[in-house]
Amino acid sequence: MQLGPAHPIPALCPDLQKSSELFTLTYGALVTQLCKDYENDEDVNKQLDKMGYNIGVRLIEDFLARSNVGRCHDFRETADVIAKVAFKMYLGITPSITNWSPAGDEFSLILENNPLVDFVELPDNHSSLIYSNLLCGVLRGALEMVQMAVEAKFVQDTLKGDGVTEIRMRFIRRIEDNLPAGEE
């Protein structure tokens, strides 16, 4: 096969470069595929959480490198960093932080708009699907790498007709470094 010389490649469509929907489009394709692969919504939810966890444990390094954020001293600082730096950086939104528990170990992230669900409608036979469950896994995995065991779960979802999307974050415990068995 005889190929000609290299062709110069001019720009034709600068607008396309400004679009940053690749992640949300790919995520949609993933959820669609998982719904085909797994028989019930619960399994899809678990799989999204697991994948999110695997992403989170690596994403934290990227986040710390980009954001230059220092060590958080308490869960309130953590909440601020999650909402005002991390969400803003990766998803372009700043959820509000509300509903603190009296003990200061639980709070809610309220997302007025969830960028993952642009153009998405849940079909009728997937009412138990937690479409954005990857996010919960990401939060859990990322925080585990900075020594925090947390639980993250969706308690409201615009895809299910709620007015907002709400993620409830609960601090479980601080993770100490584990010693190998047999050592003191």
């Binding site: 062709h7 490649i9 034709l12 929907e21 790919t26 595929q33 994948m51 695997n54 230059n68 954020v69």
Partner: protein
């Protein structure tokens, strides 16, 4: 809470970079997930997972293509469509242009990227070279999907010539230093000689080549 420097990173350029990172992490996880599901990934199973990844990429490529302004869809020549793919689509997805585009003007196009981002993260090593097709399938589908929105039927495959020379784990023998070349070959056959016809047939081909090793 110290967030020095975060302001600059939260601007539009920072957002695009971060979105790219999210996509890369998601892509890596998707490859791992779709492989893990198959308990016996023999040659047939491997093909199924590759075609699943390719199919997902196709849908994403179509969706990206549908977001294009209508003017851009009216390419006068097929080559213009390929140039668009190499510059605008590739840059939207990977924040860089394709490094070269060549054609034989008979429906075959070879696109080369010297530092394909989805492969950069992989360690170098012969066993990882065998894994490379899994990391190319989604992108092949994406190109095919975008082309289909432009009215061009195609078959896209990719080959990897070498893994990045910068990714040597400690203690590995030094690989012969070659730039990473990912070649995308596309063969187009015109179903009619009319330059503005749509529905042109296309055929792409690719292969994986193994590296020579030299001991340090």
């Amino acid at each position: 809470m110290r967030t020095r420097g975060a302001g600059r990173l939260l601007g539009r350029e920072g957002r695009r970079m971060a979105d790219a990172v999210l996509f890369e992490f998601l892509h890596t996880e998707m490859v791992a997930e779709l492989w893990a599901q198959d308990p016996d990934p023999g040659p047939g199973g491997q093909k199924m997972s590759l075609s699943v990844l390719e199919g997902m990429g196709f849908r994403v490529g179509q969706a990206l293509g549908e977001r294009l302004p209508r003017e851009t869809l009216a390419f006068r020549e097929e080559l213009d469509a390929l140039k668009f793919l190499c510059k605008d689509v590739w840059a939207a997805v990977f924040q860089k242009q394709m490094d070269s585009l060549r054609t034989n003007h008979q429906g075959t196009y070879v696109l080369q990227d010297h530092s394909f981002p989805l492969l950069i993260r992989m360690a170098s090593g012969l066993q990882y070279l065998e894994e490379a097709p899994k990391f190319l399938a989604f992108t092949c589908g994406l190109l095919r999907g975008t082309l289909s929105t432009l009215g061009i039927k195609s078959l896209v495959t990719a080959s990897v010539a070498a893994l990045p020379s910068s990714c040597f784990p400690w203690g590995m023998p030094a690989w012969r230093r070659q730039p990473l070349t990912m070649s995308w070959s596309s063969g187009f056959e015109h179903s009619s000689r009319h330059p503005h016809s749509h529905g042109m047939q296309a055929r792409w081909a690719g292969s994986i080549s193994t590296l020579d090793r030299e001991e340090t």
